[in-house]
Amino acid sequence: MSLFNVFDIAGSAMTAQSMRLNVVASNMANADSVTGSDGQPYRAKQVVFQAKPLSAAMPKGASGVVVARVVNDPSPMKMVYDPKSPYANEQGYITMPNVNVVEEMTNMISASRSYQANVEMMNTAKSMIQRTLALGQ
């Protein structure tokens, strides 16, 4: 039945949005991480979504979502004056992560709203299929 594709589409979008939520959580948690396992300060990550037909059975025009890649935020790192820190350079500045907490908060709200929209979509498709199966009863 063609309506089952709606589940695949909504499912792919939910996976993608939860990945985005994961990245937001990682960014928020590491907003003050001066150093990481590589000795470098944490760089904010962003996910890149891509529209993609999920299977050959999917009709033309219909496509799901996949996370194409996770990229490092190219915005400049924050420089904070703290000469007492062991990570300070000669001028007394430490390099802090380029995480913009306000941006991450809006990102988080947007992701959770999109996730909800997809759940709603799945519920609608489910009741449509159930009604179709009950035809003639």
């Binding site: 039945m1 025009g61 999109s114 449509m128």
Partner: protein, 134 residues
């Protein structure tokens, strides 16, 4: 085509097209945050007209009742998805307007269920006729 086939033929095409449109609207909502994604939809009235006349996308007309359906009998096969005209395109090239898509999604679902209701009515009256009113 038997009489019973004819009874359900129209509604069957409507259901197939509604199901197809539901998938397109689902992919619009799913891709609401995908950069450069363009929202798609079908011209439902035109698609249904085309399905009824048995015309495929190529526009081949059936001039004899002996001709086969160009679309291979499926109502959806010849339908072309069209891009929606963007009212407020976002800066990343995405043209999905979530409010429009969600209202269209609900409307299409309701229309689908209405069609199911009509089919149910037809099944009931056919059964009544088969049983001779008993």
């Amino acid at each position: 085509m038997t009489t019973i086939d004819k009874t359900f033929d129209f509604q069957e095409k409507v259901l197939a097209l509604r199901g197809y449109r539901q998938q397109l609207l689902a992919s619009n909502i799913a891709n609401a945050d995908t950069p450069n994604y363009k929202a798609v939809d079908i011209d439902f009235a035109k698609a249904l007209q085309m399905a009824q006349s048995g015309r495929a996308a190529g526009g081949l007309a059936k001039t004899s009742p002996m001709h086969l359906d160009a679309a291979g009998g499926s109502a959806v096969a010849g339908v072309k998805p069209l891009y929606r005209a963007a009212v407020q395109p976002s800066i990343d090239g995405n043209t999905v307007d979530t409010n429009v898509e969600q209202s269209q999604f609900s409307e299409n679902a309701l229309q689908y269920m209405a069609t199911l209701q009509f089919i149910n009515g037809k099944i009931q009256s056919t059964m009544l006729a088969l049983r001779g009113g008993n």
